[in-house]
């Protein structure tokens, strides 16, 4: 892809100042920045909750928290990490990069963009307030797990469940508006000459992700609304005593929940597909098969949801269908991994921090993919289900998958955002300490899971003690190593003792975003570039 920039935009950079710049912002770059800082803040909050969990599980017996509060911790940790960290970080990256990558001046719907961001602090304010009130002894925070299965969350839910429902509604509205915005931007605002099959893969993966969001977030909204009426208005959707069906809840939840899993990984696939070619100095291998594989994964994500529910006692034919459909996902996912490896093959590789995170992503996400394939096999799933094996699986795909994709993207684009190079040696420190500790943290969970330790328990038999202890040590190292990233980002933004970034930034980088100055000006592409 080559681009020509017409250098006659009179760029006054009328930046609003003060708090108003952020509160009333309609600028895709500022809103992207806010999304990313919000996500980063939530990462530390959700991470702190995880560290309390790991401290409690360091050895058998109850040491720090009561079982009731432990359940609140696991619930809030899950909700914050899924809805507060991974999803906003991807929306933030999309906000920043999609317009730059397709040569658009901004997002298509800038005012909606502002609102979809500012709903999030409200939503999480409510959620976190319920935890703070619980700590202060004024009631219980949501304590039914991030999957909030009925009737534990309906008939038996604490009072704060209604706040939780409101909070989820706000997150959902935010996500839907964000997705509409991204779709509208990609359809309408591509630079002349940029056909669909010339779009960068990151844009493609977000395009597909946005459709997934529009398809499933209303289902989440529906299920929490059914909870709301069950709790407050006398309906019995999920109450067996009133003729309702608790398993219906799980079907609806996972019909949202499984595409949600891909919402959290497809943009990471996109980021990796940008980074690997850059540092291999070679075009991405199999561009069109990447696009088709992403689309296939998105389609399959709608017909595999009940693999989360194999132990609910479905008919055997249903179990077989969902097992086969789930196994099929291995095919397009495999294609993606093979394509990345082939992109690296006979490239001219260098290993700057973004590339290190991308390579670790390919290794460790693949390990999560393998355990996912194992989990799809129903007879074995009966043994794995709801154990630490599942916890290990989804942390490999979400931490060393999604989160590593975000880390890679942040290092990759940070010079373009700030105009300064980040500290490469700190970046490498962050990478190595994180990557070693994250495996110490999550790999032993496979073993305790296979040995028979259920998930979401505050205390356990001594047979599980060693690996829990190892995992807890890894957790603390991994948690605190994220401060290196924080320090590095702040240092890069302040720009003291840092190198100035060139427009191109990376030797092998291709695409419209690298034709702009670094830092990217407040308003860019006021005249669309032409893509040949």
């Amino acid at each position: 892809m080559s681009a020509v920039i017409e250098e006659h935009h009179d760029d006054h950079d009328h930046k609003p100042t003060g708090i108003g710049r952020w509160l009333f912002s309609t600028n895709h770059k500022d809103i992207g920045t806010m999304y990313l800082w919000f996500s980063f803040t939530m990462l530390f909050i959700g991470g702190a909750l995880a560290l309390v969990i790991r401290a409690e599980l360091f050895e058998p017996g109850l040491q720090f928290v009561e079982p009731e509060f432990f359940n609140q911790l696991t619930t809030l940790h899950g909700l914050i990490m899924v809805f507060g960290v991974i999803m906003p970080a991807f929306v933030g990256l999309a906000n920043w990069m999609v317009p730059l990558m397709i040569g658009a001046p901004d997002m298509a719907l800038p005012r909606m963009n502002n609102w979809s961001f500012w709903l999030l602090p409200g939503a999480f304010g409510i959620l976190i307030a319920s935890l703070i009130m619980s700590i202060m002894g004024m009631g219980s925070a949501p304590n039914f797990g991030w999957t909030f299965y009925a009737p534990l969350s309906t008939t038996y839910g604490p009072d704060s469940t209604d706040y939780f429902i409101f909070s989820v509604h706000m997150m959902g509205i935010s996500s839907i508006m964000g997705a509409i915005n991204i779709i509208a931007t990609i359809i309408n605002m591509r630079a002349p000459g940029m056909t669909y099959m010339k779009m960068p893969i990151f844009v493609w993966t977000w395009f597909i992700t946005a459709y997934l969001l529009i398809a499933v977030m209303p289902i989440l909204a529906g299920v929490v609304t059914m909870m709301l009426t069950d709790r407050n208005f006398g309906t019995s959707f999920f109450d067996a005593a009133g003729g309702g069906d608790p398993v219906l809840f799980q079907h609806i939840f996972w019909f949202f929940g499984h595409p949600e899993v891909y919402i959290m990984i497809l943009p990471a696939f996109g980021i990796i597909s940008q980074i690997v070619p850059t540092f291999s100095r070679k075009k991405i291998f199999g561009y069109s098969s990447m696009v088709y594989a992403t689309s296939s994964i998105a389609f399959l994500s709608f017909i595999v949801w009940a693999h989360h529910m194999f132990t609910t006692g479905m008919p055997v034919a249903t179990e077989l269908f969902f097992m086969y459909a789930t196994m099929l996902i291995a095919v397009p996912t495999g294609v993606k991994v093979f394509n990345w490896v082939s992109t690296m093959w006979q490239g001219s590789l260098t290993f700057e921090t973004p590339m290190l995170f991308a390579i670790a992503f390919i290794f460790l996400f693949t390990i999560g993919g393998f355990s996912g394939l194992m989990l799809s096999i129903v007879p074995a799933d009966f043994q794995y289900h709801d154990t630490y094996f599942v916890v290990a699986h989804f942390h490999y795909v979400l931490v060393t998958g999604a989160l590593y994709g975000i880390f890679a993207g942040v290092y990759y684009w940070l010079p373009k955002w700030t105009g300064n190079m980040y500290d490469e040696s700190l970046g490498k420190w962050h990478f190595w300490v994180s990557t070693i500790s994250v495996n110490i943290l999550f790999f032993p969970m496979h073993f305790v899971g296979l040995a028979g330790m259920p998930r979401r328990i505050p205390d356990y038999n001594m047979q599980f003690a060693e690996f829990n202890q190892i995992a807890s040590i890894g957790a603390f190292i991994f948690g605190f190593s994220q401060l290196i990233l924080l320090y590095n980002v702040i240092k890069t933004i302040r720009g003291k003792n840092t190198e100035k970034a060139t427009d191109q930034v990376w030797e092998g980088a291709e695409g419209l975003e690298w034709t702009l100055p670094s830092p990217a000006p407040f308003h860019s592409f006021t005249t669309p570039p032409t893509v040949k």
Binding site: K282, G286, I377, Q383, L450, P454, D459, N461
Partner: protein, 374 residues
Amino acid sequence: MSAAIRVASFIGLMLVSMQSWAEYVLDLRPGVTSVSQGAYEIHTLVMWICVVIGVIVFGVMIYSIIVHRKSRGYKAAKFDDNLTVEIVWTVIPFIILGFMAVPATTALLAMEDTSNSDMSIKVTGYQWKWHYDYNVGENAKDINFFSNMTTPMEEIQNKATKNINYLLEVDNHVVVPVNQKIRLLFTSADVIHAWWIPDFGVKKDAIPGYINESWFKTDQIGTYRGQCAELCGTNHGFMPIVVEVVSEADYEKWIASKMESAAAAKASSNKTWTKAELMDHGKSVYATNCAACHQANGAGIPNVFPGLIGTPVITGDVAKHIDVVVNGVSGTAMQAFGAQLNDADLAALVTYERNAWGNDTGDIVQPAAIKAAR
């Protein structure tokens, strides 16, 4: 980077030193039933296929990382697609998946076949205990009982040494005869629970309003332990399962003794108890059934489970107190214990609550009063 190596070697040392602590398990257990062994075999097959694929893919990547680097002067090649290899690596995974799907399907069909069982047990999940009823299906016996965790609070709170079966011990074991196909029927009285014995390869959700089925049959006498596997509230981690597989003769003996104690319990509901007897028995009933929420000291958990010290229900009208205990409070976690406990247990419990922790109402409730209130 040398400091990173120091950190890594420190962790490595810790791992080595931990090995001496105890024997730990790395892999799934084969278990003692055809179902668990089937699960183990398919697990092992799929895991090794994944390992082989991993070695190949990661091997290629590592080779590329070592050889194709710019620092060694490697010049990038120009290719960016190849239809043949793309077709090959799409088709081959399909074939591999086929090799996994066939044994998985066979194993699953065998697992889900609950026909021709020798006896049945109905398993009901409660917050946070299991109830077992032998009075169903073939060879029904008039036996039913609750099974509560017996691990003392002192061990959980690190005030006493933990025993080997810490958190995996209950008062009433499920006893079944060896070499018989035992059909299990699962349901729940409140939220969703999951009954899991790893050695049997049985994990099934107990769902209110549903009856799920599973089965096991083993030729190995022994005691098998498991836990609830579905988050079911505060004490989800404290509702273990213990199944004792015994010889046919021992099973008959157990049946006889259970019948006898059931008769004795019935008789105790007809006699008049002294206050000391009621308080003594009430304390143990309370510890088993109530302490999980209202706490052993009766203080409850603020804003989650109400305390019982000096509250109106306890110090006020006896009839109201009995009503709450027997019928529960709808819309809350307070269960209807009338269905779970007999008249003597309930009488002792109410008496205990009204006189413990400084409540000192002096009220004595006899089993006859409970019977009248039902």
